[in-house]
Symmetry: D2
Subunit: 343 residues, 4 copies
């Protein structure tokens, strides 16, 4: 089968023919319908510091966001059957640790990541533990199915901050932030303030339902949001920027008693005055490492199935698998939304 | 000033000139913009058993749902000023009891009701404790402002069951039920099953965003909902019917681990098998006596101000105050939605 | 091996030699250290209506509450090893249904019960799905380990009502109610009102930390609790009686905004006035069907391991397995606490 | 009356005769039974940077933690009567802002602090808004009543992290931290790891129920706690140290999915790697600025009234008001627990 393989250190990857995966206990073989490029793939593709320090065994097949069809069941698989239409959760839980035994397998202590610690889905076929393959409604287009993994993170953030009827900010309008705007719109957030430094992305945010878009290079975003909320501040913010300055602005704009959902991963430490920004403010801060398995998937599927969650504008490019280099280039420039690769 | 006065036992009331209210400590005088007829008003109007047994001192001015303008402040009032546009919460808390001191003044142990235990708002002017007058945005039309009190109950129910992305049922499509459908739509419920015995009301429910309307005289509503959810059952239901048979059907349709918000007031005891319907099912049942003061008001105002909560179709009649008898007739027939009286 | 077998309809069971269990995929063989008689065993033993109507295939080995040692692993078992000291959760989840996939396997839609739908633990050995065998600390005596299953239900109820610092009632002082008193004491409930009709049981409740014991045959328990709380009412109550009159008394004693945890299974419908007892009171009612798997087990193990949860007085009889008839007799009379059978 | 007055910038204060307070609307006059020295008093006493920058008008009477008797009511006071035994909440809410109207008056947007922005309680008498005076049971000794304000912060932290049956850490064993240990013990925390750099304080922590005391100058406290929890990490930690290094150690010891309650006020920014310490860990961090008004007071009173919350060892010195200089000296050295001043 064809696959995009990272063969060795350094920039780039190659499209080549590789052996079909051989299934082990509890695994399924899936035929990829569509896959999406994520920041993590980009890190590995360009082989940056993060990639060099993350125990990635080369050669490896890239990719972890996909929609697919189940074509073969390994021994012991009971929750799926051949022909099922699925999307994949990247989190591979061990099933044995404290977290797995206490309803939090999505933050398993021994968590492995599909497409990072295993061969991934930028290929015609992939194998994956059955527990990670989630049946989804046929009404969801494969290109949308390919981005359910990151979308789930955005939906989860809105569940945690309970955005219905609230005034919220979404900081950072890359794909995750944009999808957080969509989810906030679906949940009935009253005001959604989208913050970014890029007008193109802010334009998409507007299209997805942001009530106000704020280019933080052109104004003080914290002051702007306080003003828009009559001095009260926002009820909650979701950080999808991973930018420490933007996160601090979010805290400044947060009302006393407000909530913060953190998704972004800053490359440097956050320096924060806990007294004024957390303690006196009684902020509640929630770290979000992806989707709850599988409560978040249920909410997300329900919304998509009923046409209540519009993320079409987030998918800006659909390419053939063999055009992956172009895809990584577009993704690298960081201006677009999601890039889909179709085998 | 003109007011609709219930003078004595028996059916009916009269429109007559009465003295202007005299303000006491902590009260405000409001000029009524619009008022709405509620079931409670109906009970008092026809002087049924409920009315006869509820310590209502006659003569009294009817009405408790209204939008208004503050025209005079009594001694000690600080949270309002003359000219403020307000709606009223019917719950008059004592401010001293356990509940009032513990963040639950809406269920005050010594709760008094505006328009039931005091003179009400079917008049040109009314006086009300300042704590019960809630400033609302000018963007909310007075006729909508007049029904915020019942709407808040419906919004609150959706907050409690966290309807975003869920499959829910609304049982009973009188005004409260219809507004619960609207709120569920605003919150992004995935499927909203509206149940009633009246096709006219179900038609309004459909207009407000119900994904499926179920006439329970024409099918087994519990079976229907189980079927629509692939045998799982609904995540939650809101009862706004007060009909014990309908409530039991709701429980039958409820999935294991589901939630129930009870608003309706049955006139007879519910007979329920706790083992199968609550314990084995791990149902969580929440009684809802109106709005939280004032978290619910904030969410509701936010949504209305942004045009995210459509309840226009619930208001089926707008009459002059002097046409109150016609209003009570329409309301009595129970087929319409809300009847507004404009002084 | 020796086992207590229910061979046919009618009262009683026999101790006899049976074949050793043969393990299937995912099962483990356990050597029973101690087992406890539960009301369910009693139902099957006397073959009452409940037993006749619950799809129980005869012959079957009785018993589902036990502590044990793992002596053999079936194919595919990874979470246990030979020699592990375990207690058993009776709930056998399917792992595939909506609830199992959404963090609620303890209320699996296809739930099977160990010792009811499978052979049980009143024997020298038993086989059980590995998922149901929970490792427990060596510091827990086998006789205590044998009652962790019902104890978990009582602990869970206290988690749900958050009893720390609250005034609560425990209604019904059979073993589950008594253990709920112990758990409330461990959680730091301020006042614990234990209600029953039997002074012997109330005596044990007192010993376990009830601040007040109320014999409801000798006073109006609802009035008594209102009086003890200065007219406010209790913050919460746990029903472990399954008696509908007692449950109604609990609701009368409940403060506005209070919580109810229902464990008991009434043999007749509850007739309740929803308006006064649930809606106006804003009661929150939570059905509890056993332990969360496995959050409740963790809390319970932690407490027992540190000596913070005293349930010794609940275990009133320890007998040899062959003396099971005496055990069932004692259990039948309903005056004692838990009866332990040691193989 | 006698009072300890901070007359001007610089170190120190004087005991002198001052005019009796004159009551305004909504205020009460209280006769102080006992008062306690807090870190804030210390800041003002020595007139450090914090004091110089906090809009404190001099001269002012110091002190804000006290128990007292109500001796006179100002106009409009309804929740108290002469003779009531009370303790004081330092938070003076405006009653009008968003937070006050939404059930969070303890974090009022216009919050004023008794004894900081008003004359305080190191005096024979003080005046205070009636809303801040909380009736407490006679069973609570005045010296204990004097420290309910800080104790409430510690109790609240345990409510937020739900410590019953959990393994928790308390970082920093000054008076607030010590009282957090007491509260955790009352709530039934399984393991309580108390961390400090001072063996004297750790000795008190042990006396109050810490299961393990860790002197972080003598070992790596994070590693120690991971080891004590078999590599899982603690379920939650409460920071009462305000030391950024200690807080980071707390995060390292926190299990995935754990909770953090922040009370301490670091004098420098916290530098934290959000990715590893919050996002991947899915930590939930809650800022705590004192007590909820008045849910926390209710829980605290209940526990003290029943003898379930032992904080006697935290009160290390009881002095006469005129010996305040000695009291501030002891408090300054930071080795003792709470210093009480009795007028």
């Amino acid at each position: 089968m064809k696959a995009i393989v990272k063969e060795c250190a350094g920039i780039g990857a190659v499209l080549k023919d590789v052996e079909m995966p051989v299934l082990c206990e509890g695994e399924v073989l899936i035929k990829i319908k569509a896959a999406a490029i994520c920041g993590t793939d980009q890190h590995i593709y360009v082989w940056n510091n993060w990639a060099q320090n993350n125990n990635i065994n080369l050669p490896t097949i890239l990719g972890h966001e996909c929609s697919a069809e189940v074509v073969e069941l390994g021994p012991g698989v009971k929750n799926l059957k051949v022909g099922d239409y699925v999307a994949c959760d990247t989190h591979i839980p061990c099933g044995e640790c404290y977290q797995c035994r206490n309803g939090e397998q999505h933050i398993c202590q021994n968590l492995k990541l599909f497409g990072v610690h295993t061969n991934g889905c930028f290929a015609e076929y992939a194998k994956i533990p059955a527990v990670c393959a989630v049946k989804i409604p046929e009404s969801i287009h494969p290109n949308i199915g390919a981005v359910l993994e990151p979308l789930g993170t955005s939906v989860r953030a809105n569940v945690e901050i309970q955005s219905s009827g609230k005034n919220i900010a979404v900081i950072g309008c890359g794909p995750i932030g944009l999808m957080a705007v969509s989810a906030a719109r679906a949940f009935g957030a009253a005001n959604i303030y989208a913050v970014d430094i890029n007008d193109y992305r802010l334009g998409i945010a507007k299209e997805l339902g942001a009530t106000e878009v704020i280019n933080s290079t052109q104004c003080n975003s914290a002051e702007k949001m306080c003003e828009l909320t009559n001095g009260v501040g926002v009820d909650a913010f979701i950080d999808a920027s991973g930018n420490t300055f933007a996160i601090l602005d979010g805290f400044k704009a947060l009302r006393k008693g407000g909530k913060v959902a953190l998704i972004g991963l800053p490359s440097r430490p956050l320096e924060i005055d806990l007294g004024s920004q957390v303690v006196f403010k009684e902020a509640t801060i929630i770290g979000i490492h992806g989707r709850r398995m599988f409560e978040t998937w249920t909410v997300m599927s329900n919304l998509l199935d009923k046409g209540l969650l519009n993320i079409d504008p987030v998918i800006t490019h659909v390419l053939k698998l063999e055009d992956f280099e172009k895809g990584f280039d577009i993704s690298q420039q960081g201006i677009g939304g999601k890039v889909i690769l179709v085998p």
